[in-house]
Amino acid sequence: MGPLIPLGIIGENWNNVIALLIGMAFGFILESSGFSSSRKLAGVFYGYDFVVLKVFFTAAITAAVGLLYFGYLGWIDLSLVYINPAYIPSTIVGGVMMGLGFIMGGYCPGTSYCAVSIGKIDAMVFSVSMFVGIFIFSEAYPLLENFYNSGFLGSPTVYESLGLSAGIFTLALILIALGAFVMAHFVEKKVKKVDY
């Protein structure tokens, strides 16, 4: 039955329209969950607010469990679902830079637009800086191209790389997530509350 667009159940032309609608819903929920506050987002690094960890980890395990059950019931062909290609060295460097930007600016790219939409000046500065970064990267691309494309691994899944079945890996991920939530609960209790 699914995925709907690759199988032609919904036309290819709807791709961007659906993406826009999902994006708006995602942004709305992010904003209403308080993700437009840089203090809340940065809290995960300082240990006074773990809502980012909780929300994204919950999203990941919910989606994983949902997709695997859908696949098991034949509602979606998982082999047709897009998996990001993996480039190891550039992903590590990119991840470190993204983390630094996140802790310095207090936003990740998506949440910065949530904050722009409610008129936060720091988020506007962040968004403009992001475009400056993109511009510099694009201009320097010929120099970075080899590194950018190095260490290509295809589109592997974590469970395949570990040699586990999808079910066992997902159960392990659920247990790790729940463990992280409990730990975050205790850390939050220990660390001094910050008002924002």
């Binding site: 695997l68 059950y69 098991y72 295809g154 999808a166 079910g167 159960l171 729940l178 409990v182």
Partner: protein, 204 residues
């Protein structure tokens, strides 16, 4: 801790255990039988030796030759840039690494095209795309590219052009100096000249 969280956490663990028992999704990737049938009866998977020679000479980066004969045969003779994937190794990790290269046309060849065609069907069934078969295999490669035979004098000009191209390809792949054939032998035209008229006399 909040009771709701405990219930939700237990529900997630239960769902996770369910996935382990169910064995997850069916990971077998196969293309639907009707699609395979359509593709099997379609001849576009074949590539001729001339087309292949042309692409190899032009150093087409999308060509990935796959030799499906035994390793011994592969070691004794193979086409430039080919990798050896014999049928029994089709599902090995090395073969997987070959077929995971993005943007490549995988061209199977063997001594003729029967074995290559079988491998094509199995590989295509597992969902690997951009697969081709070298028409008539290496036998045809030797006959047409490495040792081209000159056309008979009565054949059309296209046959001579093709022969010239093949001789050029043969030189490219063998590095030897095969004598270039001259143009189609031209028949001598017999010109019958008109007898000169006698000089005009007089007139105005």
């Amino acid at each position: 801790m909040n009771k709701t969280y405990l219930i939700l956490a237990s529900l997630l663990i239960l769902l996770g255990v369910g996935l382990v028992i169910a064995g997850g999704s069916d990971d077998k990737k196969e293309i639907p039988p009707d699609q395979l049938l359509r593709e099997v009866s379609d001849d576009t998977r074949y590539i001729t030796t001339d087309q292949l020679a042309d692409r190899l000479i032009k150093k087409d980066p999308t060509v990935q030759l796959v030799d499906v004969r035994t390793a011994a045969d592969f070691n004794s003779f193979s086409l430039p840039g080919a990798v050896n994937v014999s049928p029994e190794k089709l599902f090995s990790d090395e073969a997987k690494a070959v077929f995971e290269q993005p943007g490549k046309d995988f061209i199977f060849y063997a001594n003729d095209d029967v074995l290559a065609d079988h491998v094509w069907q199995i590989a295509r069934r597992t969902g690997i795309s951009r697969l081709y078969v070298l028409k008539n295999g290496l036998n045809c490669w030797v006959e047409t590219i490495l040792q081209p035979t000159p056309p008979s004098p009565t054949e059309p000009q296209e046959a001579f052009d093709l022969y010239q191209a093949r001789v050029g390809a043969s030189q490219f792949f063998k590095g030897s100096d095969v004598p270039l054939a001259t143009e189609a032998p031209k028949q001598k035209l017999e010109v019958t000249r008109k007898a000169k008229k006698a000089k005009a006399e007089g007139g105005c």
